[in-house]
Symmetry: C2
Subunit: 506 residues, 2 copies
């Protein structure tokens, strides 16, 4: 019934995944009772509409299931659905075909009654008949021989084709070169642009450095700019490509990315607008829980996407994603920070990473001579120092970093020296040692966070008494400069709020 | 392609919604190009599998579309899908049938070329032919006459049936009685139990007090306990019921709730486990954005649901939902707080509310004689005072309130007087006037928040230097007492952490 079953099956049918077989345990029971209470689908017909082969069999008839499986294996052009009509709690005299058999243990009495009904001895409680044991032992031996033969064949092949074998191993280890950050930094544009465009250029370099990197977009590639340009697309019967066209299927995309990561041999990424991350929360969470390296590229990352309006403008999504354990959210502010973002994502071997990128153009950020680029990999760093010492620290991410720099100018002219910290990954910054954290955010100096999203997350950085310039409301449809004006995200407005706050509240 | 299209259409087919007609603008174009890039569904067949009537027509043939609509209106037993094959950017010589016509304006030149191709004058730029104007004017007159006749008939009916008319108005105004809180408080059990069970009893009283209240569960009613017991279920051809069986369709449920709210005449609620709120983030957000009164009952609201394990244990969901603008999250701790929670939800006429309820049993909370119950409606209040004055304030929600009370006992015996604040709705508490907030959380007294979820949200309450006893990890599968032990949610562990923190960090 779940929507993702539609997205996944439709995509599998489109790609003609002949190796895919579903066994549908069609027991007519869900938690509230008979599925007929809420469900009247003609399931085989529905899957045929997706281009699948579909059968219905008696799920308790092992020969019928085996025959259907043989037909499924023989069918190489379409996935197969085998609807197995079964009876939940089979044999249990009072609970068979009821919701009780779904959510509760049978209980001692009913269990014994079921065993009797099925002609099964009551003792020993866990009984494995000798013939079953023998059958499984034989099968294990057969499979061991198959496995050994495959491994021998692989070794033979690897000796004859050392180059291909090296590529195979590079994939299976999803290898990332030692000098990845240097390579991405060299490829990162230094001019100003939208971070989706800057990130796209870094992605091309990442794809060259990491052959295991594959991905695609949920029908937004022209906007998210995440196509690997050096390779073709994946299409029915053509799996040598590196770009997937996931369709308007965010939830399905997230699930496919998890499957690719769990299979191994690839580091998968998927892209959509940040607002549509709401459609794929469940698979994002599963990637984090299953400790899988999956990369999300979420563009159009704030109200500054402009005219599409509040339905498309993320406000709570950055805070919401940062709350997922093990999921790192990185919101870079310029080309070099995009290089840092992709480096962090590609080096996190056992956890997913989400990049948040802008639709709108951003100015290039100035950096002091001799700037230590590796500081970006610590999640937050001093971008612009105050002189002689900061009266306030402005902490900002992504598109608000340039804004904070401009506000700093104004504050400085007004006699309020301000430091600007670019905090592309606050979760990572908060994991740094206390000495580094104190060096970036000196204890005792008031802190202001500037991010065009709900402020919740930032109080752990700035303190309850700190100022968060955020948005506790939905956005609006207008050119982004008008939105910035109306919502107080201009250098004048930010500088004025900081001044008033320093003068008053404290 | 989106999964929710499956959930909604399957449910509509099951309920045989003969009044529902979809016109599918089948233009073969999505943002990445031809839909054939990623989509091979046989759409009419898919909808027939849902029990729909389905036609395919030339969408530019108005007579064919009109004929299909007539057949759709005549069909009272099934919803109808009319697949209208169209050409996007029809007539535009270079952009017709391309993705450019989806995401970009045509531009002056292409627009003029399209007008020429269609035999339409270039000037005036916005031209409404006289015959069109006349047609619409005539149609408006016809509809005005129909409307007036309906209103006259309604007045006539209302005069003849004053009782029914009163009920009609009660529904259409979704009236909530003045003394709702008193009625729910009277119905709320005072003994200890799971808040899902306590909430269920309050819901029965709410359903009696508010006839407009209707709802159901996404196939979890035996667990969420949200069935209105005094009325039958909604089923195909039987719409007089008050309980929907939404099936395993959380996203679809959220969308249906929005539809019911927008239609008017009802206050809809939907229930599932808190973890599955992740499946319905998009419609929850839309309810908030569209300012609709929709109520979500999210049970099994923490790792203390136990054996189902981390896939089912919410950790980041409370913080994530509190981040949605206009969505109020209420996490009651006992029967009276469940009455407050339902009162808050039913009184919020232009915004959605989410209730977070436990699976596990909780003890009854003691309250001082003469306790002012209305304080619960302020989102947070002093539940247990320290004597003589608090050295620390423990702020807790839901199942952690009783835990905080026990920790307070231990702290008190150890010479650390502690106040306990139950903060069922922190968003609402933070909106109270400063005098009330300071009375509950005295400035200068250290604060500790206790909630079995990610700590992010709580720093705005306790401060950066405050202590949040939360969970920055996924849960685990075990009986809930074992989980509490292992994750530090016992009175001893909480008291010890508070003591160590008061002694050390400050």
């Amino acid at each position: 019934m779940e929507g993702v079953s539609h997205e996944a099956a439709s995509f599998a049918g489109h790609l003609r995944l002949g190796n895919l077989i579903y066994l549908y345990d069609d027991n007519h029971i869900s938690i509230e009772g008979d599925t007929a209470l809420t469900y009247s689908d003609d399931v085989p017909r529905r899957f045929q509409a997706y281009g699948w082969q579909a059968f219905a069999v008696d799920g308790h008839d092992r020969a019928a299931v085996a025959a259907a499986l043989e037909q499924a294996v023989a069918q190489q052009e379409r996935p197969t659905l085998i609807c197995c009509r079964t009876h939940i709690g089979y044999g249990a005299p009072r609970k068979q075909d009821t919701a009780h058999a779904h959510g509760e243990p049978l209980g001692e009495e009913e269990l014994n009654a079921a065993k009797q009904a099925l002609g099964w001895p009551l003792e020993p409680r866990f009984r494995v008949p000798d013939e079953v044991r023998a059958l499984f032992r034989r099968r294990a031996e057969e499979l061991r021989a198959e496995y050994d033969a495959w491994q021998a064949g692989f070794r033979h092949w690897a000796e004859r084709h050392p180059d291909l074998a090296a590529r195979w191993r590079e994939h299976m280890e999803a290898r990332v070169p030692e000098d990845l950050f240097e390579r991405l930094l060299a490829a990162a544009p230094r001019e100003g642009d939208a971070t989706r465009s800057l990130g796209s250029k870094v992605l091309q370099a990442a794809a060259a450095a990491v052959p295991a990197l594959v991905g695609g977009s949920a029908d937004l590639d022209p906007s998210t700019k995440t196509r690997i340009q050096s390779a073709p697309s994946v299409a029915p019967g053509r799996f040598e490509g590196r770009t997937f066209h996931f369709g308007v299927r965010e939830h399905g995309m997230g699930a496919v990315l998890n499957g690719i990561a769990l299979h191994g041999g690839f580091i998968p990424y998927g892209s959509t607008f940040l607002i549509f991350s709401d459609y794929m929360r469940p698979p994002v969470r599963l990637a984090a829980l299953a400790e899988q390296q999956v990369i999300y590229v979420f563009t159009h990352d704030s109200v500054f996407l402009g005219e599409d309006g509040p339905t498309h403008q993320p406000v709570e999504q950055l805070s919401g994603l940062r709350a997922v354990p093990h999921l790192l959210v990185v919101r870079p502010a310029d080309g070099p920070e995009c290089a840092a973002a992709w480096t962090l994502a590609l080096r996190r071997r056992r956890a997913p990473t989400a990049l948040a990128l802008t639709r709108q153009k951003l100015p290039a950020l100035p950096r002091a001579d001799g700037f230590d680029w590796s500081l970006m990999l610590r999640g937050g760093y001093v971008l612009a120092e105050a002189s002689p010492r900061p009266r306030v620290v402005l902490v900002a991410t992504g598109s608000e970093v340039a804004l904070a720099l401009e506000a700093r100018e104004r504050l400085g002219k007004g006699g309020v020296p301000a430091r600007v910290v670019s905090m592309l990954a606050p979760q990572l910054f908060l994991e740094q040692d206390a000495a580094y954290r104190d060096a970036v955010l000196p204890p005792g100096v008031p802190r202001v966070a500037v991010e065009a999203g709900v402020p919740d997350y930032w109080y752990q950085v700035v303190g309850r008494e700190g100022l968060v310039i955020g948005l506790q409301r939905f956005g609006a449809s207008a050119p982004y400069t008008v939105i910035a004006e109306k919502l107080g995200f201009t250098p004048e407005a930010v500088a004025e709020r900081v001044r008033a706050w320093l003068a008053g509240a404290r």
